[in-house]
Symmetry: C2
Subunit: 595 residues, 2 copies
């Protein structure tokens, strides 16, 4: 059945929507694919829904191909299973919670580990039933603090989530690998550039995990790559600690007078002026910066945390968030300093010099009783200039392992272009991407919490080990648009386009109109999905709209018809070709099927 | 791709689920199609999801065929549009409401009139854009007071809802008729018995409306039919009032002493004993019963309402609910009587006899100032025995129109088998059904509330008129199961069955196993959807499960194989036929395609 644009429910808009931050959002709205219903919540118009259905179909086919079975869970879920795994609390304000008329607690599912675990527990009981992989393509909810970029970070969105169930670790490895290969096929078919990177597992728990990122300058995620093949989300980079150093030649800690040096730059200048190094100038890398954060736990309680790191680096807040999840970290305010007089703003350090010598100041066992975590570069034997916990005063020759220790390591300093890859595979480059897929080895966390056990070959009850695998289906629509659109509009890859061919009748005369309808019908009869621009509109409007709407191929039936010719246009390359009308169907079939 | 039962995620259960009230619910759970997640909230297992997808496909094809265009709106919706139409309040406790992290009010959409109206307003502005029909197949939410019967009355459910937009009434009539015809095709294809009945429009507003009911003894809806073709939901029956009567020969109202006659039966006995009629005995139909209800408005305020109706009929609470919606009616309690001493329980009547003659007692302008609505049978000139508003006292010769009047008519008395059809088409019979579809002429209510206007041919702004059309998609799965299952399990019609053919390998020997796999592969290659029972299980288990699971046709590869025969079983009829293995594929293709 031909779709006629005179009937199609859409409007192309000449103006950008006010809230459009990225090109994909701008064009999806302007081309009549989606409409905003509320912040981070979108309606799908006919064109957009066709793209969404195409993405779903690609995902479904590849999931079926690895033997995963499709099911569908509710979005409205009871509290109890999420209470059992503590995610009711851990999700914090990201979870939409509600009460039913009887006062029962419910949530809108952000992800369904609990429900899948329970249904497998319900139905299966033996190792013979495993391995098992289940998936759903379903609407999910997260109350994002900052919904943005249209479909890229929504509050209601469509995901494919799947879960694997295995009796042992080798089984989980195989299930994980099967999903990884399926994801490669899916993202290859979706037709955009992507990279597979090591990832953290965030609030999901679990161990091995990788992300599939669409490479996009507007992406929210930053990832690193090395020439030797290392690739990771910045949150997942584990900095390799330098070797420990011999500090035997370094003198005792001493306080130095450093008036008005509340910043690292001021401190370095003062150090070079007042107590210069003989061998070279002091740099920010010689200073130990101690940054205070307030951690808000999911239950609302707060703790202070001091992070100690070389002064030439800042804390990367996204790395910090990932490291402290489910707690949320915020920089401390002047009010917090006022409430904690032991923290001298601009002059915080791990050590206090007393008449009896240096004593540990930071750390849960230090005088200040504040948790203190150290960057992995602060290894034993390294010597630092750092705050003396006294206004206008710093310390020099403060040696890690000799004068102070942290309560642990926290690897949250910013990663910089050129930093060495942790595996020695060369200098890192940074780029941005959009998280399109995430695969996790969850392990036994959920099965343990919810009691999913099966009998093994020896008749012994063992806890099942699970994997969890997600794809942002509605996000993929935006990510593909983002990766393929240009300054004139959308430009869909063939597998996702709402229609194979857009037929434009341009110019006056019933002959043109009739020839366009006939060509559209012939293409439809040949099995192609055809959009016919039969509107009473100028050729200019039709050409512009065709570029905005982004079908991969369009055919113009217009002036050339007098010579028996139509024009075939390729949206992505802009190439145009005159083709005899008589050959048009065969030509377009070859184009669409890439023959 | 063949689906192997050894791999399929399902379990047949030998026991009925504890909460199963109706056969469809029992069998859908026992056959491994669905699982309960919370009251009125279900998960779809692979078998159930296939049936759901089949129903969706039938609906989609027929909606597309009438030119309706598929879109998809969010389920999580902002409060404002529903506030503009007052449904935020009117839905009362049936609406799931929630707040987001910023305190904004949201709801889970029970139906989407507002959102569709707004998107059309957003994009369209001229009569040339109309008519327009849009639809979605989408998950909806209603916080039912009494979720029941599995998928039949759920709190999260899948609906097809569509909306038509026309510039005038004739256009709406045409859109309504197109939907009506599409619904007939859909319900014919779904393969169960149904009836089209007049309906009320409930909380939706609007005028003309019809329901498509699946005929089912376990249905929640009662409908009536007459030999002459009248058909209506009982809520929609409008009783034809009898002719007015001449009361000129009837004497004045008088009080009579009727001790201990708080019920109609006691009153009739007392009347026949103490003041017998000369022509015939008094019956309950001679008495005017006045029943008090408390109406709770959506905003929580309450009002009293007295309903006056012939004493031989009771108020039908479902008809009352439909008539007073969005208010909810509940019978008054002894506490309510205590709080309203003007209402003398058992002796309520519209008139009080005073020394100066009878005065109107009930009614907003009566002495008691309580709203009083009358059954349509209480026409002017009819004479009644009724309460005197004094304990142990009634009145006789109380004439409607002479001695009292109501504040209006309320047609909520029970409809009985044998009552005359309102259109004179003969006596009514009653039956029960499940509401599967509902079509409404909404009119301009939503367009007016939300400002949806277009320019007409004369360049004048006119308000668009709308229709609203629903089908319970997940409910249809249960309704079809309910209408087709038997004491052995499910029995799907072909169009909805998860698989066309179930192949059972029964009996020992690698030959049987290999022949079954080969047959399954041949059927698959011939384009049929094949389920292969390849489990290590006894023939008895396989036969029983096949009957529980309900594929329309199964093929048994077993003992007959030695003679080159397989057995073809028809699930619905129970018929069995031996067929040469060599002919099996051709035979089964003919069976499945009904050739």
């Amino acid at each position: 059945m031909i779709t006629r644009m005179s009937q199609l429910f859409f409007r192309t808009l000449r103006e950008d929507p006010a809230d459009a931050e990225v090109p994909s959002h701008r064009w999806l709205v302007r081309a009549g694919y989606i409409r905003r219903a509320a912040p981070g919540i979108y309606s799908w118009l006919p064109l957009g829904l066709r793209v969404l259905a195409n993405v779903e179909q690609v995902v479904r086919e590849e999931m079926d191909a690895i033997g995963a079975q499709e099911v569908r869970f509710p979005a409205l879920l009871p509290r109890e299973p999420y209470e059992a795994t503590n995610r009711w609390t851990e999700y914090g304000p990201n979870l939409f919670r509600l009460k039913d008329r009887k006062g029962g607690d419910y949530l809108l599912g952000p992800t369904h580990e609990e429900m899948f675990t329970l249904v497998v527990k319900d139905l299966y009981s033996s190792y013979k039933d495993l391995p098992l992989a289940l998936y759903q393509i379903q609407t999910k909810y997260r109350d994002e603090a900052r919904p943005r970029a249209g479909l890229l970070r929504g509050r209601e969105f469509v995901m494919k989530d799947s879960y694997s169930f295995d009796v042992d670790d080798a089984g989980l490895d195989a299930s994980y690998e099967a999903h990884r290969q399926a994801y490669i096929r899916i993202f290859d078919r979706l037709g955009f550039e992507y990279v597979i990177v090591k990832a953290t597992s965030g609030a999901m728990g679990g161990s091995a995990s990788e992300e599939f990122l669409a490479i996009a300058p507007n992406g929210e995620d930053t990832f690193v790559r090395s020439p030797g093949g290392y690739a990771a989300n910045v949150e997942a980079v584990q900095v390799a600690p330098p070797p420990e150093q011999d500090a035997s030649g370094i003198g005792p800690v001493r306080n130095v007078d450093t008036p008005r040096t509340g910043t690292i730059a001021e401190l370095v200048d003062a150090a070079n002026a007042k107590f210069p190094r003989p061998d070279r100038a002091w740099t920010a890398a010689d200073t130990l910066k101690n940054v205070v954060f307030k951690l808000t736990n999911p239950d609302g309680t707060t703790d202070l945390l001091v992070v100690g790191l070389p002064g030439d680096r800042d804390v990367d807040l996204k790395r910090l968030d990932a490291a402290v999840a489910p707690a949320e970290a915020t920089p401390v305010t002047d009010d917090d300093f006022a409430a904690n007089p032991g923290l001298v703003k601009g002059y915080i350090g791990p050590v206090r010099v007393t008449d009896a010598g240096p004593v540990q100041y930071l750390g849960v066992d230090g005088e200040a009783k504040i948790r203190y975590l150290l960057d992995p570069r602060v290894v034993s034997g390294t010597s630092w200039i750092t705050g003396a916990n006294v206004v206008d005063t710093h310390q020099v020759d403060v040696v890690a392992g000799r004068d102070f220790a942290g309560d642990g390591v926290l690897d949250v300093a910013e990663i910089r272009e050129g930093d060495p890859a942790p595996d020695g595979s060369g200098p890192l480059t940074l780029a941005r991407g959009i998280e399109m897929g995430h695969i996790f080895q969850l392990g036994r966390k959920y099965a343990e919490a919810l009691g999913l056990k099966v009998l093994d070959e020896n008749g012994k009850l063992v806890t099942v080990t699970m994997g969890s695998y997600g794809i942002g289906v509605s996000r993929a629509v935006a990510a593909v648009a983002e990766g393929t659109c240009d300054e004139r509009g959308l430009a869909w890859p063939r597998e996702l386009a709402p229609f194979d061919i857009q037929v434009l009748a341009t110019g006056k005369g019933v002959e043109i109109e009739e020839a366009a309808v006939q060509l559209a019908e012939d293409l439809d009869a040949a099995g192609l999905k055809v959009l016919l621009d039969d509107r009473k509109a100028s050729p200019g409007v039709k050409f512009t709209d065709a570029e905005v709407m982004g079908m991969p191929t369009s055919v113009v039936v217009g002036r050339g018809l007098a010579d028996g010719l139509v024009e075939v246009r390729d949206r992505a390359s802009g190439e145009r070709e005159e083709v005899p009308l008589a050959d048009a169907v065969a030509h377009l079939l070859a184009v669409v099927h890439n023959r």
